[in-house]
């Protein structure tokens, strides 16, 4: 459990809580959508994530190092451990990359 954010492993995370989706297949679609979106950010750090049995995320780097994490809070902590530096959403290089990514995809 993360003492700071109060997230108990296996319990619902606040990022899961707003859409009010109860249908399991819709939840799964939502989860896969989250994986796809978070991968666009993780690409900046040469990392990727995959859904792991609908209940966790498998984070990996290009050399095959992997870690299973329960939720997005733990995912960013694991990502920082894996790359050995901070993952800062305010980093201008990341913001620029996300903007370019969007333009490149016609967004």
């Amino acid at each position: 459990m993360c003492g700071l954010c109060g997230v108990l492993g296996g319990g619902p995370h606040w990022t899961d809580g707003a859409t009010g989706v109860d249908d399991p297949s819709a939840r799964r679609r939502e989860r896969l959508g989250r994986v796809a979106t978070v991968n666009r950010v993780l690409a900046h750090y040469a990392l990727r994530s995959d859904d792991w049995q609908g209940s966790a995320y498998l984070l990996s780097n290009r050399t095959g190092k992997t870690e299973i994490v329960d939720n997005l809070t733990h995912l960013w902590q694991a990502a920082e451990r894996m790359i050995g530096r901070g993952c800062d959403p305010l980093d201008p290089a990341l913001i620029e990359r996300l903007g370019m990514d969007r333009l490149g995809r016609g967004g």
Binding site: L4, A18, L72, D101, R102, G107
Partner: protein
């Protein structure tokens, strides 16, 4: 099972916190409340006392259970809940915690949200902060904890306005607003002050949530106008100069997935400096607005409102941050939200 709200009452030494607490303990509005205090002696309970339950626990005439914190806060909360379950104390419906004057309230909030046993039975309610009109400015100058208390407050009670000069009161209100523009400020001397409402009016109380969120948005709107007019007029000192309060308005409905990714990443890297984030979101694909509310790393579960509190259906988020640039936060948020447009 509905979880019991936990209120935190904090404020600097001499800020009128104890006086407010005494009024609360005597009020019938808190008849079903248990209060954890530092010391009985400070509060002066004798004339309110009905009977002593155990050494550290007394029952007051108002019906309120009062208990001192012997060891750590987590044990005190768990013990009190255990006595409630066993019928040793009345089945209180709310818990209020008085902090010491120098306390940073955030670790207390983390205890409530972070300990699984406590979190199972309790949820966070309003953080109520007292600040006195005579010495409040001095405390803000000298004590960073005082600035933090104001920054995380849901409700601010200004005390001793009767013995302060009007210009002192006005100046202090300006400073408090510059640290936290989204918390209503009440006057302790106001005979119509709703003591019960200070604790109970929060976004998780079905009866008052619409009004509470409307108040946030109204105050955020006033701040925007104020920011344009007088943003450089405040006398900012070394502690509160680094703290900035601002609102971000998003015209288009936003994607919760992208927002959650951004916010979780922000909390991970800058959680200590995100003193408060709260607001109302218009989510893509949903009619009902969603309320978000967080104090540093402590995030309340998002909740749905039945209806929009005003005619404006744009997402509006209030930030109270320390040492982070507003422009960069906004640029980052918009870049992440843009990911979902693909």
């Amino acid at each position: 099972m509905s979880r019991l709200p936990v209120n935190v009452l904090t404020g600097f030494l001499g800020s009128g916190k104890t006086t407010l607490l005494q009024r609360m303990l005597a009020s019938e509005d808190l008849a079903d409340t248990a209060v954890l205090v530092n010391e009985f002696g400070e509060v002066g309970l004798d004339h309110h006392l009905l009977r002593r339950v155990e050494g550290d626990i007394v029952l007051l005439k108002s019906g309120c259970v009062c208990c001192t914190i012997r060891e750590d806060l987590g044990s005190a909360i768990r013990d009190l809940y255990s006595m409630r379950s066993r019928g040793v104390v009345p089945p209180f419906q709310r818990l209020a915690i008085e902090t010491t004057g120098l306390a940073d309230p955030v670790p207390i909030l983390s205890t409530v949200m972070g300990e699984p046993v406590i979190r199972h039975h309790f949820r966070l309610g309003n953080v109520v902060v007292t600040i006195d009109a005579v010495n409040g400015g001095f405390h803000l100058d000298r004590q960073p904890e005082s600035v933090r208390q104001i920054a995380v407050a849901d409700r601010i009670v200004l005390t001793k306005t009767d013995i302060a000069e009007p210009h002192e009161v006005e100046r202090l209100v300006g400073r408090v607003r510059a640290i936290n523009h989204a918390a209503p400020i009440d006057l302790a001397g106001d005979p119509n002050l709703d003591i019960g409402g200070l604790l109970s009016s929060d976004p998780y109380d079905v009866g008052s949530r619409g009004q509470v969120v409307a108040d946030w948005l109204r105050l955020a709107g006033e701040e925007r106008e104020h920011h344009h007019d007088h943003s450089h007029g405040h006398d900012r000192n070394r502690h509160d100069a680094a703290i900035q309060t601002f609102s971000v308005t998003l015209d288009e409905p936003l994607d919760w997935t992208a927002f959650g990714i951004w916010f979780s990443m922000m909390l991970n890297r800058h959680g200590d400096d995100l003193l408060r984030v709260k607001g109302i979101l218009n989510l893509r694909g949903g009619d009902a607005p969603v309320v978000i509310n967080g104090v540093q790393h402590v995030i309340h579960p998002p909740i749905h409102l039945d209806a929009w509190p005003d005619g404006d259906r744009r997402s509006r988020i209030v930030f109270i941050v320390r040492g982070l640039e507003r422009e960069r936060i906004e640029a980052s948020l918009r870049a992440f939200l843009g990911l979902s447009a693909l």
